[in-house]
């Protein structure tokens, strides 16, 4: 878990690949007017796309909070 925060660039790249990949997956079976027998794959892709957006937001907020806390801690020790 700690490694996720030690290497934010790699984590962001993974999140971006997830966002783009799941969005592409969400188009499977999505004809726009009626369901096909593979629409469920597209639905899973769409759900995972939304989850990856949520994960990106949560990760960004956590990174920001950790940075502020570290700055305060460093400021208190100097």
């Amino acid at each position: 878990m700690q490694r996720l925060f030690d290497r934010p660039k790699v984590t962001y790249v993974a999140l971006v690949v997830m966002i783009v990949g799941f969005f592409a997956l969400s188009s499977v079976g999505n004809t726009g007017d009626k369901d096909t027998n593979v629409t469920w794959i597209g639905n899973i892709g769409w759900a995972l796309f939304l989850v990856s957006i949520l994960l990106t937001i949560v990760y960004t907020v956590t990174l920001a909070v950790r940075a502020v806390m570290r700055r305060r801690r460093d400021g208190a020790t100097v």
Partner: protein, 137 residues
């Protein structure tokens, strides 16, 4: 680092941090140190907050020109790295998501296609830039 007391100085400092973000690290640090020093001096000499705020406002166009000159070169250099493409990639699916949530399915079709193709193209460009930088060593 010294603490700024007056609101006008703190706002001027925040503005400085904002517009220097786009420039290279060394240039950014020099500019920030210089502005911080000016702000500290203005507080030490008890310069009125209004004067500090007015001086900061008068310098906005100069600050923007300075940032554009420093930032443009940095931006052009960054096009040879994967970072801008990775940053742009999620914008395509997200715009498609927003459009498809607000307009009819038929209107949203091209935007959804752009979301898929644009995101993929940006990731491909990022991979190419990564391979290129790796090849160059």
């Amino acid at each position: 680092m010294t603490t700024l007391t007056y609101r006008a100085s703190r706002l001027a400092w925040l503005w400085c941090v904002a517009y220097t973000t786009v420039t290279p690290r060394d240039t950014r640090q020099r500019r920030r140190d210089e502005i911080r020093s000016h702000l500290w001096e203005s507080e030490a000499t008890r310069l009125p907050s209004r004067t500090v705020a007015f001086a900061a406002l008068r310098g906005v166009h100069h600050d923007l020109a300075w940032a554009a000159a420093g930032g443009a070169a940095r931006f052009l250099r960054s096009l040879g790295t994967p970072t801008p493409y990775v940053a742009a990639a999620p914008l395509f699916p997200i715009q498609a998501w927003i459009v498809s949530a607000t307009v009819s399915a038929r209107t949203a079709g091209p935007f959804e296609f752009l979301g898929m193709a644009g995101g993929g193209a940006m990731l491909a460009a990022a991979a190419a830039a990564w391979l290129l930088t790796r090849h160059r060593g």
